[in-house]
């Protein structure tokens, strides 16, 4: 089986047995999503890039503590979330930075349908209370369950459930319009 098709957990084992180069696959699989978590916390690209790098280094250095009971995704998200909280509180004491509106419109990728769906979801999520947005991201992009998100963030499961549901409803209603027909033709 080639590396691309291995599960995260199999790759982690490989890394722990000395195949450090395999960690690249983990980075390639998750960098966009970790960057996304960074954007939720910092609303700033440079900070999010630094954050992404720091999260992966932390994950690598504590890889031995991953017991393999929960999915690796969950473990990685936990590291990212905690690091985000710590980094944010350290940053807030430094200075209060004006918030930048996240943008994803300028690249050619965004012209594609996939970009469109993402934009719709981004808008849908932006209609939710700010502090729950990250929960919805974790649900859609990290594929975590309500319970796992609750464990990471400390928010009640029901709150997470209702926010995810709200995002899904907004998403569905938006999709009913323009995108749905286009998608049908594919």
């Amino acid at each position: 089986m080639d590396n691309e098709h291995k599960t995260d957990e199999q790759i982690v084992k490989q890394v722990l047995f000395g195949g450090i180069e395999s960690f690249r696959i983990i980075v390639e699989r998750y960098q966009k999503r970790i960057f996304g978590i960074g954007m939720r916390f910092f609303n700033n690209r440079d900070d999010s890039y630094d954050f992404t790098q720091e999260v992966f280094i932390r994950a690598f250095e504590s890889l031995k503590s991953y017991a393999g009971r929960a999915p690796f995704r969950f473990w990685l998200t936990k590291i990212a979330y905690n690091h985000g909280i710590n980094r944010l509180s350290a940053k807030r004491t430094e200075s209060d930075v004006p918030e930048e509106i996240p943008s994803g419109e300028s690249t050619p990728e965004a012209r594609h349908l996939r970009g469109e769906i993402r934009k719709i979801l981004l808008n849908a999520v932006n209609e939710l209370p700010e502090r729950y947005r990250i929960c919805v991201d974790l649900y859609f992009f990290m594929e975590l369950t309500h319970g796992e998100i609750s464990e990471i963030t400390g928010y009640p499961v029901n709150t997470i459930k209702s926010n995810v549901l709200r995002a899904k409803i907004i998403l569905r209603n938006e999709l009913k319009g323009t995108i749905a027909e286009e998608y049908d033709e594919l």
């Binding site: 980075v27 992404t52 409803i169």
Partner: protein, 153 residues
């Protein structure tokens, strides 16, 4: 159950859970829901490997450089002590071979001419094992021999 309830049930589903039976049964008979749910499902699928924010840089190279420079290393290493213990066990079992029943039986069958080739093969295997042990512990051995004169004095 009407279509709206079914939709709501579907939307309430958690990640990594199965589509509820009631929804699946309804989908069997209602083509509209079948279509809508399949559409929504495929949309959600496309989101999985993504992020709401566009990342315009590939960080993997930069991260891997740091990973290789990290003080944490997961080299798979068998300690010198383990090599020696296993080596000792091998040597002891080699000495015990002539006393085993199987060897006695083989000797009966092939005569005394068997001992020499068996000894050569075992000796060869032991040498290979020792060499492998020494080469995989070169660093440790180097440290040991560098510190040896200090210990003697």
């Amino acid at each position: 159950m009407n279509c709206n309830t079914i939709h709501k049930r579907f939307l309430e589903m958690d990640n990594r859970s199965r589509i509820p039976l009631s929804v699946r049964i309804h989908m069997l008979f209602c083509s509209r829901c079948r279509h809508d749910i399949a559409l929504l499902n495929s949309m959600l699928e496309t989101l999985k490997y993504d992020s709401p924010f566009v990342m315009d840089r590939d960080m993997s190279e930069k991260i891997m450089i740091e990973v290789f420079q990290s003080p944490v290393n997961y080299e798979h290493h068998i300690s010198g002590l383990k090599w020696s213990v296993v080596g000792l066990i091998i040597v002891v079992s080699m000495f015990l071979i002539p006393f085993s029943n199987t060897f006695g039986w083989l000797r009966q069958y092939f005569g005394r001419g068997l001992e020499l080739p068996v000894s050569i093969v075992l000796g060869l295997l032991l040498s290979i094992y020792s060499l492998a042990g020494i080469f995989s512990n070169l660093e440790e051995l180097k440290k040991f021999f560098v510190n040896l004169p200090k210990k003697i004095h």
